[in-house]
Subunit: 483 residues, 2 copies
Amino acid sequence: MVGSIEVDVMSDKLNGKVVPLPEEFDPIAMISDPLPPQVVENGGIVDDEAEDKQNREIVLGKNVHTMCLAVTEPDADDEVTGEREAYMASVLARYRRSLIERTKHHLGYPYNLDFDYGALAQLQHFSINNLGDPFIESNYGVHSRQFEVGVLDWFARLWELEKNEYWGYITNCGTEGNLHGILVGREVFPDGILYASRESHYSVFKAARMYRMECIKVETLASGEIDCTDFKAKLLPNKDKPSIVNVNIGTTVKGAVDDLDLVIKTLEDTGFTHDRFYIHCDGALFGLMIPFVKRAPKVTFKKPIGSVSVSGHKFVGCPMPCGVQITRLEHINALSRNVEYLASRDATIMGSRNGHAPIFLWYTLNRKGYRGFQKEVQKCLRNAHYLKDRLRSAGIGAMLNELSSTVVFERPQDEEFVRRWQLACQGSIAHVVVMPNITVEKLDDFLNELIGKRSTWFQDGKSQPPCIAADVGKENCACVMHK
Amino acid sequence: MVGSIEVDVMSDKLNGKVVPLPEEFDPIAMISDPLPPQVVENGGIVDDEAEDKQNREIVLGKNVHTMCLAVTEPDADDEVTGEREAYMASVLARYRRSLIERTKHHLGYPYNLDFDYGALAQLQHFSINNLGDPFIESNYGVHSRQFEVGVLDWFARLWELEKNEYWGYITNCGTEGNLHGILVGREVFPDGILYASRESHYSVFKAARMYRMECIKVETLASGEIDCTDFKAKLLPNKDKPSIVNVNIGTTVKGAVDDLDLVIKTLEDTGFTHDRFYIHCDGALFGLMIPFVKRAPKVTFKKPIGSVSVSGHKFVGCPMPCGVQITRLEHINALSRNVEYLASRDATIMGSRNGHAPIFLWYTLNRKGYRGFQKEVQKCLRNAHYLKDRLRSAGIGAMLNELSSTVVFERPQDEEFVRRWQLACQGSIAHVVVMPNITVEKLDDFLNELIGKRSTWFQDGKSQPPCIAADVGKENCACVMHK
């Protein structure tokens, strides 16, 4: 299975040319056996690597220790016998098989697993790091800023911000985009209040806590969209403080798109002028899809918004998480005057940044282009409708928001089935996010299995399909009361 | 050069099986031409992709736009002519050549560029994402937690914390480690004051600003170590508030190791009991090296410290930035009781995390083991001494801290030379960080070139080598006054 594994040259490298010791250097000052003893609670030492694995007390959830792949110290003769090489190759081969299997049965997370970056494999030999600001050269030469800025330009154009008016960078994930957008908002309005609908991604509330910001949760409609009546009611008593608003371009669970135009109108109607609010658009999920759907409220910097973020590993597809963050240059310039830490010329959250991600994104954007993405969006929306319709015909409660490819439906009763298809669940509902790699064939496999299993779950009449009216509205529910 | 580029199957995928349109779906509701117009300042439209590139006003530094690789829209016939394929292959081939060249001439950043992950190339086809907590399984099946926890165990053992007493995760970089460690400190002591030496990494001060913490900068000795006399003086008037202390295990510029034992003694002497302070050790640079040097003050959780972080792309070597963060489980448990956002069961900073990095680290740790790292540390320290001695013999001011492989010396006068060797500079000093890939041959090349160039820089007697006594002490300076 792993015949292509290259023989490593590590041993040559480790045993490289011996350098004369400097006079003042004392080699015996090195620890003679660098292997740290294994510590146990009574202060003793254990020799058995396998011991102690079952004891870990994790209060947070399932203990991954029981299945972890321990790092073990090489034996002195490992290089001679080749045993270690063989062991590692077998671990990797097993792991690769499991990845193929898990990738095949995947529906619940919005990751496009359909990519081919074979042409880029040659770059894995380099330690590519875009330290700090994408627009400022660093002395570290092994970077990919030229690709990064090309990608940023593409997104700035998509969201209609001029090259000389935007600033941005390629982030590690959607969370970093939210952390950055909300931080910029807070620096623009230090005493601003953060508003976000209760179906916003948890990173928004994490940011509020990290940044010690006042944060007000706004109610949502059954669709998952922000409820602007409640928003207005919560703005009114706080008119003396600026507003920082998180607008969801696709919520995590229901794929709901907040109505950006209505949010802006609500702010204006409540008396907030444009210099008294900052809007961050969390487009992690649909930020790249929505520009290609005509009926959608347009995400554009021609409207009074401050920043937009999108994930790169979702609709685009990428081997590792990444994202794109675009904001107005004026905000970053304001920061650079006011904030001491920008003396270091770093307006990003993370200092060192993965230089491979920009190349993956650049490669896909160049191949597909705006037109290619439009085709894929169309395909996803079609397939999402197909899935919702087939669920409904089978008597299964289901909802699909108009601008979305996230199909919400009754949570399957069998946790094994949920895990097998890697469905994300919350309360009584589960969802499938139809990404470009989700074909009709895959949906048919899933549907046939679900419908088959379902008939056994409810055959004895003891249990009933759950009511999901509270989650998605009774018109989308197919429980005994609502069908 | 790029003969191995695989022909992509994108066109087949894009033109996959046509799905019947759902009845309520209106295909003409899609935007007919998804290509966004290029916006310019006067509101008009430009067609020329090349235009507008020189105009960007970046107040922060050099404009990378002039050299960026634009993403261009594919022509309709690109798939037929193969022109796009050829263009992209040529861009990548040129880029790869530049990476080889830039990797060869690299001395200034602490990145070990010597790795061979060929065996892992097969994994680049998968979108591996360790969402949230490493110890809690997620429904997304394409993860690498089993490798991650193996790596974490290895580091917990290195820093002497038991498996059932630690929590940690693999971060995106050293900065994320500092952001996390300081956040944990703040959650343990919400009104604590952050103390850090002025030579601490800028991410420490960034954290203070992000988290709205009071922060006091402490002076340093000429070596770059924290000055504990000044630390004591600054602690005394603030005895009513808990202390959160950042301890540097290798400062960025001088590679200075703060004396952890003296820091703890200073806290104790000033009246801080162990329940009134939290120490985060920023071991980004030497956190993995110091355990193998006998004379070094040991970094261990047997001392009253709260967290340790280290970078994975530095001494270990990795294609992309990453790091390891280890803290006490009790702190995370305390957080999980007190902090609302942990209801989401995510105690990391980033929600989605690169699942490839843990596999790279696992692979290297397994191959080298504690003993392999000890050998490499020894080699680096030897080579650093060699470099310092040769600089001194050539009459060049230079300093090497006892526990460090960072050689600080006079900043070369020629910026072209600085860029060529990718030296990190600050004021009058530059440094070379001797990592395992820096051989004596490479150092000799560098030294010979430096000494040769230097004789031309100062030959006319108009300029003199800079005085670096203020940076590194006069005993290490070789300027006209101090030599």
